[in-house]
Amino acid sequence: MAGLTLQNVVKQYGTHPILHGIDLAVKNGEFVVLVGPSGCGKSTLLRIIAGLEPTTNGQILIGNEDVTGLQPGDRGIAMVFQSYALYPHMTVRKNLSFGLENLSLSKQQIDSKVSEAARMLAIEPLLERHPKQLSGGQRQRVAIGRAIVRDPKIFLFDEPLSNLDAALRVQTRGEISRLHKRLGATMVYVTHDQIEAMTMADRIAVLNGGNLEQFGAPLELFEFPANRFVAGFIGSPQMNFYNGSIRAVEAEKVTVFVDGLGLIQAPVSGASAVVGDKVALGIRPNHFHLLPQASDAHQMVRFRVSYAESVGTETYVYGQIEGNDTATVAHLPDHVPVAAKDVIEFGVEPACFHLFHGESGLSFAKRRADGSIIAPRKK
């Protein structure tokens, strides 16, 4: 069937470079989520894949066929537009069936596909309305419906759930995942929602300023981010970074000095480490633990609270590690009653530490659980 390969895709608007040579190989049937900061070129990339925007340079392959010059309709792609692009003069039903009528399907087949999609997206009562009579979320669901009633080789979704409420989002997410499983279609999905990205993706591609920063399985990105950007981008709240410098280097352990934390032993390869180099130490907010009792695995830090936000059963605590003025967030899986000026003792596990080169921002290589080494490519 149809994998999707991008080879050195470059895009400029006038002299504005938007994409700087993207290489991406999506396997057939894979679910790839594209994430990146607002304006980094995600929508542009989708539009290029769809053939709506000419590339300035580079090839796009679907399966083994070079489709770079092909018309959008010949690529066998369905797309959900970030801006919906609903036909304003057609009812919801007509919006859904319009694309189907290009195929030689019977009226019944079309009807059943439409009602199926409508049911799945909970827009059955709206079928006879026009887009202007719909709420934002309803419009978005119609836009999704229009893509899924067809049966393309490749789906492109541009933030398809951004206007849905949590429950509906979870449900629709599930439906899309199931659709993906059933059809085995290749999907490229843009989202800003971390949970969406982590739970739906086979692999995640992180885009930043028109460059592909990392492309890998969700947990891989989470646990072995290639560089500081990815580390900061994946995971919410953001990873905390502390400046430090290397004090000692061993084969699989690097000792770093960080204000307030003292000497820290990070379990990373010393291959590229040079004593005296500046580094950034990364600790995820969830890796600050309130320990029932002290433990060997943990290093204790004293934390001065500025303020705390409680979200039901979770608590975000903002403040600094004593002796270090880097703003820090800790994310606790419980409703913890803390107040400003409190000082708490957190345990942190050196095994969870991330270490980045000060200048390039690249991660230090690390040994996976299975013993293999993961080393980020040089930029």
Binding site: A2, Q71, G76, L103, Q109, K113, D151, P152, R178, R182
Partner: protein, 317 residues
């Protein structure tokens, strides 16, 4: 989920042979030309080709019709003499000047007025629909009758307007019998006739503007006037270009109305360019070449005018 996806169609899309794609590609490239074809065909046949023939006439001394049987009607090649002769052709010069003045006066008035009408009559109620019909009504009447009607209304001795004035003991006004008044009368009647068309064009432009923008502006406390000048007008710029270009060209071509309203009078006070060209070609012997040269000048003037206006519209947008 049941049959959300029919497997048959899958294979269909996948199995389409590449040759049909190339065919589709060609079809797509040809498509815009196909769309242009009927219009271009008709325009070439009924306007451009005759136009070229007509303009070619400007190089000859000849009448409208050339008869092989009659030697005196055969065209004589005179090069650019006809154009040179225009320089001291008072009729042409004067009517060209008058036409330009007419355009400069009538078009802006017309555009402003019809835009005002469009904005005034935009609401969707029955009353306003009726009012729009009324304003468009003059455009539904043939120019001949428009001219005759206004001529009658404006009559110095038997006109309704002067009669009404006389009831108020106001001396009769020579609407059509005095040069400037007659020129004003033409402007009035022309605008009265054209305003409806332009209003409709403006209305179709106005309805294309999303109400969102007005909502956003009204929340900011933007005054209606500022909404009009800063949102309506700029978003209406393409429509404005249409109206300005079309009505300037229309104004340059003013003819039928004048013929039936003033007949070009008093004297020659309202003889505009087309009438001059027409009379030169059809009323005077062997002057068709000169008329063609006049047409060529008109054509160039209009072309420059249109291009300049479109440029202006685009550069600001």
């Amino acid at each position: 989920m049941t049959e959300l996806v029919a497997p048959i169609t899958r294979t269909m899309t996948a199995a389409r042979p590449p040759s049909s794609r190339r065919l589709g590609d060609i079809r797509r490239k040809v498509w815009p030309y196909f769309l242009m074809l009927p219009t271009m065909g008709l325009i070439v046949a009924f306007t451009l080709y005759p136009l070229v023939q007509g303009l070619y006439m400007s190089l000859f001394k000849r009448g409208v019709v050339v008869l092989p049987q009659a030697r005196q009607t055969l065209p004589q090649y005179v090069g650019l003499d006809n154009f040179v002769s225009l320089i001291d052709n008072a009729d042409f010069r004067i009517s060209l000047l008058k036409t330009v003045i007419f355009v400069v006066v009538a078009v802006p008035l017309n555009v402003v007025l019809s835009l005002a009408l469009a904005v005034l009559l935009q609401p969707q109620t029955k009353l306003f629909a009726f009012a729009r019909t009324v304003v468009f009504f003059p455009s539904m009447i043939s120019l001949l009758i428009i001219g005759i009607t206004w001529r009658w209304l404006f009559g110095l001795n038997n006109g309704l307007v002067n009669y009404v004035l006389s009831l108020a003991s106001i001396a009769p006004v020579p609407w059509l019998e005095q040069d400037t008044m007659a020129q004003i009368a033409v402007v009035v009647a022309w605008i009265w006739w054209q305003a409806g068309v332009n209003m409709m064009i403006f209305l179709s432009g106005l309805t294309a503007i999303s109400p969102d923008y007005y909502e956003a502006a009204s929340i900011d406390g933007t005054s209606k006037w500022r909404q009009f000048t800063h949102i309506t007008l700029p978003l209406l710029r393409p429509t404005m270009a249409v109206v300005v270009v079309l009505s300037s060209i229309e104004a340059f071509k003013v003819y039928e109305l004048v013929v039936s309203l003033t007949g070009g009078g008093p004297g020659k006070a309202t003889v505009y360019l087309i009438q001059t060209i027409y009379d030169t070609a059809f009323q005077l012997p062997m002057q068709a070449g000169i008329a063609a040269a006049q047409s060529a000048v008109l054509f160039v003037v209009l072309m420059v005018l249109a291009i300049v206006q479109l440029r202006l519209a685009r550069s600001k947008a």
